[in-house]
Symmetry: C2
Subunit: 752 residues, 2 copies
């Protein structure tokens, strides 16, 4: 059993609600612990590899022992003086051979534990992607001319368009009315979510109610001399990984210990972390100075609202609270009907101690969150049938705990078997799957991972994360949680405004209600100073206890009653309390709705999309590798380029006619008339992921080139815009238009 | 001459760049002063009204004097005892008549100065608009259940859609390729602006360079006992207005003084404001406690970046700085070509001392800014011809200074006469005009007001504000400024990174350059300790001075030279300095681009749009007034509603067929099947500004109703979606389709 700390999945910081939303540990005994998930799965994932790593480590130790023994033998031979030169030479040769073997074993171990072949390839891919992204200004480290600020990034022009496209597609999701999507002919989704737009500046009371002021923290240590701050868990993690990767002579038991520490890293308390840091003698990485004890650092950016300095405010760590505090108005706006959903897109902030992982862990990021409010007694969803047939990688907790991998499952089965808690949660999992894959996320590198019991707050019914695999590993990009009534209750209590829904009964219902009326006078006479404790204990009885007491009092006239607050039993007599079941007519049910919350980390989704869309291919001359982003038209920053093949007035005019037609059709495009080879111009637009290029090599008909196949078709100049429109809006595929229009294989073919 | 303080137009806070962008006072003598414009125009506007107000005030004083005299006479008659009852009665009657006259004069004055008829009507309109907006959740005071935070508002569902529509239309502006707009058949605008998206959290150094850390302040006073803060100018303004409006017996000279104070309010220094507050005995409004002296309060929300607490950051007060610091990358991205523009939409923050004016003055708001970089030597614009024929209200500084009103002017004339400084500035004024009027801003209540000389920073070439008239007066909603090279230079200096552009010459140019080489040795011998000042003064000579000295030295061998820093003349001899004109070959020109900056306050534009779009009309029974927003389809949160006239399966099915066709056509719509009268349902959608309603009263053909005329036409069910699409996308007007389809005048006509 692994313990929980405050925020699960802390590694996926730049985004997910599951981090940004405080979790209350299930029981008081877990109060000091927290849920930092990540290493659970890391541990599971490596458990299979571990066997071979252990074997390699043993093999290396054996080889090394053999080397040592042979070296000793050589020394003995030489020292003894009696051995022939041939004997000594043979022994030395044997030693050399053993050293070669040991070296090979060390390399195999190195590969298995460290940035081996796979790791190096991932690192290389990441570098290639990031270089292209920065060079093409998809993003820019913010305030670069001032040497930047860690964890802050700008989206440059193409990145900004990609982001706008992703957000606009997300907004469609809010009121999607989509026919025949994904080959599901009956797929008619209609939503009418209530989008709101709330400020980032948030008064303290709101984030006290939500728990962020108290619990939204990371553990930090300080360099005792310079004051430089570090995340305590990062230092311990780095130490253990370094030992495991670099120190190949590490004894097996030490290696096992470091691995265990890595596996439970997220679950260590401040004291445990501090003890480990002391035990291993970990010092400040830059100065080698000693470190302070770990202590919690609140990750919210604090500020002051108004001029007095007395009103504390924070930059919101998530957008959801803005929706919860508006529940009452939104519920009335929706005609007091459940279920309904509200949504918000906006900036969220997180003052990371020391940001790492580039665009995945940042100090300011865009969140898109949906809060779907439902009756806790009815979490069915009328449109679940529309997604029930979807099949994708799911990673329920049973598979995680038994060390297996994610499996292809049908969503309908997952819900009917109870793997996914309810239909509404399942419906949103399906919607998230469709959203991500239509953006271009690779189905094979997308999985839905269920939270382990120790990652979830006690109030949560069920939580799933959409995780996308990229060069940093599996990254949580969307969280889909059934958070029960927790958030609305917290704000009801703090504000005193009931955030509840009503179910009006068509006719009043008769209900039996337990009524306990203690007699203060008689209790006072009997218990004097302890009267209050007895009275409270009586009022707090469960229905079962009360009915038992009622029966006992009626038969025996008195009964023994345990009062916890007094630590003893007292005798209750008939006249001290009246207990009855009364019938009442109720006209409505008043309840706090449950909330089901899909929370999208837009920046993380976009980064993973960049990696999944990126590939390289040789130029025609094979002298260099060209970069390509295979963005679907939905995402592509520009849908189409228009190239006059050579510089002349006729071609330029024809290009303008086409551009005008594209504009009328609403297709974003650019004309590129620079006098470089057409191949170079193709390469330039491939690198920002433009899906189609129109090349004007005639004034009557022109070619359309598809980015990934590099195939070209020949189309009449008057049809170009409509063909490109069909392609970019998904009415036709490239195969459709290739079948309809003649292929072009001419001298102006790709020259990249 | 009116003095300047730091930020002009401080009243228009929630938005405009002109406020959020520091201005450096033109000369050192003005350094303590600031430009708070607003009252210039207020003063001008009231100057004509002032004449009649003065007359009324004099008339009232005369009547009051007559009353006093008559009252004295009555007292004398009564006291004397000799007067007959008839005489006394007559005198009393005369007194009564005089009092009635004085009362009437007081009411006339009251109307002229205070919230008179016009003011009351404005106030009433505002209340009606704001009530509707709040009730329909266009916006919601943020964190309402916690009693809110002044100056923070949420956009609720329909407001959020309006905002998204406005921003999406603004984005089109960035890459507009629009044909035949506004009846200008040749109107083909194509832009390819570079949109970026930068963080709100900004390190201090950036805002030090921009001047915000030092100068982005308002003057504040504190209640000396409770610490409550007030804006010093607000208290003084309230005091003067109260006196003028309520104290009808105010002597003329006092009234004149208060008016003068109101007119120069924005130009008062801290000391002057403090002196006035003392002179008038102004105390804290709530407690009547004495007030502190005024002192500057920085309006940026401050925070701390990272865990050490040592790295100060602010929430950005504008988005423009994010563009300036990226200039170099963007210039390279644009192929090192000028002109080009970058743009950004995002949140900006301003920690108001005490926000007023509802949605117009808020602490967090959305800005949309364009920074158009041009060669300072060529500010022509190739597409200016496309907007040159536009004619609208312009308010150049000459008209303001002479007390006239804004006049209809042709933009082309304004530029050719030099009223507008250059074509590029004029081009953007034209674009802003088209943007605002297409959104639905009333042309008659939109004017472009030029900044007065004392409102502009010395470096600014010219500035115009798009001002929209609403119930709060004329509100600055868009600023369009030619800020010269100021911003790029400021960041070049602070960061050490040259933010410059290059003009490569097609062939090298020979230029003559002045070269001044002082001889340190000879200067040292002659001036000893003063050597440095002399040397610096020599190097700082203008070309003219240098050539004069050169001539003098050549003819006379020595000359007298004034060294300001020494406060005296010195004698310079030939060997102390060599002055020559040298010829050099230059291959390129290196220069800092000018920036022309249109800055849109999205929240203010939307609020004005709400007021301009709102009207009421009687219900059919004339028992109540119904609210309508006449949003154009572009802005409307929902384009179309579908109403089955009565509840039955056939009509519901037909409604669904229509809804599906609307979805395919991309028209946002809702189906309203609630069982209330069709008139009520129309009224409900009129109130959120839905332009078209389809009523299903048959399964073969249905009616389409236009919101403002309430006319209906009858259209075949299969044509409905395409007709609505034409109407909402502007291909057809209501007149077009009314001519084509039969009018419907049936029993299901409007019943509101």
């Amino acid at each position: 059993m692994v313990f929980m700390r405050f925020r699960p999945q802390f590694i996926f910081s730049s985004v997910p609600r599951s981090i940004t939303k405080p979790r209350i540990p299930p029981t008081a005994t877990l109060a000091a612990a927290a849920a930092r998930r990540r290493h659970h799965t890391a541990a599971v994932a490596t458990s299979m590899a571990a066997t071979s790593e252990d074997a390699l480590r043993r093999a290396l130790a054996e080889r090394q022992a053999a080397v040592d023994a042979q070296a000793e033998a050589v020394r003995a031979l030489k020292a003894g003086g009696g051995a022939s030169k041939a004997d000594v030479d043979a022994a030395v040769e044997a030693l050399k051979a053993l050293k070669v073997e040991a070296g090979a074993a060390a390399r195999r171990l190195q590969q298995a534990v460290g940035a081996g072949a796979g790791g190096a390839a991932r690192e290389e891919l990441r570098q290639a992607v990031v270089n292209t992204l920065e060079r093409k200004l998809f993003y820019i480290p913010s305030f670069k001319i001032y040497r930047g600020v860690a964890g802050l990034y700008d989206y440059g022009p193409p990145g900004c368009r990609v982001k706008a496209n992703v957000l606009s597609f997300w907004r469609q999701l809010l009121r999607i009315k989509d026919y025949g999507m994904c080959g599901l002919q009956h797929f008619v989704l209609e939503e009418n979510m209530l989008e709101v737009d709330c400020p980032c500046v948030t008064p303290e009371i709101v984030l006290k109610a939500s728990g962020h002021v108290e619990k939204f923290t990371d553990l930090m240590v300080k360099d005792e001399k310079t004051g430089t701050c570090y995340r305590a868990d990062h230092l311990l993690k780095d130490f253990c990984k370094e030992k495991l990767e670099k120190d190949l002579t590490l004894p097996q038991e030490k290696a096992d210990e470091f691995k265990r520490v890595l596996a439970i890293l997220d679950d260590l308390s401040a004291e445990e972390l501090g003890a480990k840091i002391k035990e291993y003698g970990i010092v400040a990485p830059d100065t080698k100075n000693p470190l302070s004890d770990p202590y919690p650092f609140n990750l919210m950016f604090q500020t002051s609202i108004g001029p007095t300095g007395l009103s504390v405010g924070y930059m919101r760590p998530e957008t959801a609270q803005g929706i919860f505090v508006n529940f009452k108005d939104l519920y009335y706006y929706n005609g007091q009907k459940l279920p309904f959903a509200a949504a918000q897109i906006g900036q969220a902030f997180r003052n990371e101690i020391s940001p790492r992982q580039g665009l995945l862990r940042v100090r300011e990021f865009t969140l898109a969150e949906i809060e779907h409010f439902v009756d806790p007694e009815d979490k069915s969803h009328p449109k679940f049938v529309d997604v029930a047939d979807l099949e994708f990688l799911m990673f329920p907790r049973e598979l995680q705990l038994s060390g297996e991998s994610a499996k292809l499952m049908k969503l309908g089965d997952a819900v009917s078997k109870g793997t996914v808690n309810n239909e509404t949660l399942g419906y949103f999992i399906g919607r998230v799957y469709l959203f991500l894959t239509r953006l271009g996320i690779d189905k094979g590198r997308l999985r839905f991972r269920q939270h382990l019991p120790n990652e979830m707050a006690h109030y949560a019914a069920d939580c799933w994360d959409a995780e996308i695999e990229c060069s940093y590993g599996w990254i949580e990009c969307v969280g889909i949680a059934d958070r029960s009534a927790y958030d609305l209750r917290a704000h009801s209590e703090k504000s005193g405004v009931p955030l509840v829904a009503h179910e009006k009964f068509s006719k009043p219902r008769e209900v039996e209600k337990l009524v306990i009326v203690p007699s203060k006078k008689d209790l006072g006479l009997a218990f004097k100073g302890s009267q209050k404790m007895v009275l409270e204990a009586l009022e707090a009885m469960s229905e079962k206890e009360a009915l038992e007491m009622k029966a006992a009092l009626e038969t025996k006239g008195e009964t023994s009653f345990k009062v916890c607050t007094l630590g003893k039993d007292v005798v209750i007599t008939k006249k001290m309390v009246s207990i009855s079941m009364e019938k009442k007519l109720e006209h409505q049910r008043v309840f706090t709705p449950s909330v089901i919350e899909p929370s999208f980390g837009i920046g993380r989704i976009i980064y993973c999309l960049f990696e999944h869309s990126f590939y390289t291919r040789p130029s025609k001359s094979e002298e260099e590798q060209l970069n390509v982003f295979r963005f679907p038209p939905l995402v592509a920053p520009i849908k189409c380029t228009v190239f006059p093949l050579v510089k002349n007035q006729e071609f330029d005019d024809a290009a303008k006619v086409i551009a005008k037609a594209l504009t009328t059709a609403g297709i974003s495009h650019i004309i590129d008339t620079t006098a470089i080879s057409i191949g170079r111009r193709y390469a330039r637009t491939d690198e920002i992921g433009v899906p189609f290029a129109v090349t004007v090599d005639s004034t009557t008909n022109v070619t359309i080139r598809e980015r990934d196949s590099k195939e070209q078709i020949r189309v009449d100049i008057n049809e170009v815009a409509s063909v490109v429109k069909q392609l970019t809006e998904g009415q036709s595929t490239w195969a459709d238009v290739s079948a309809k229009y003649p292929a072009h294989v001419g001298p102006q073919g790709d020259q990249e």
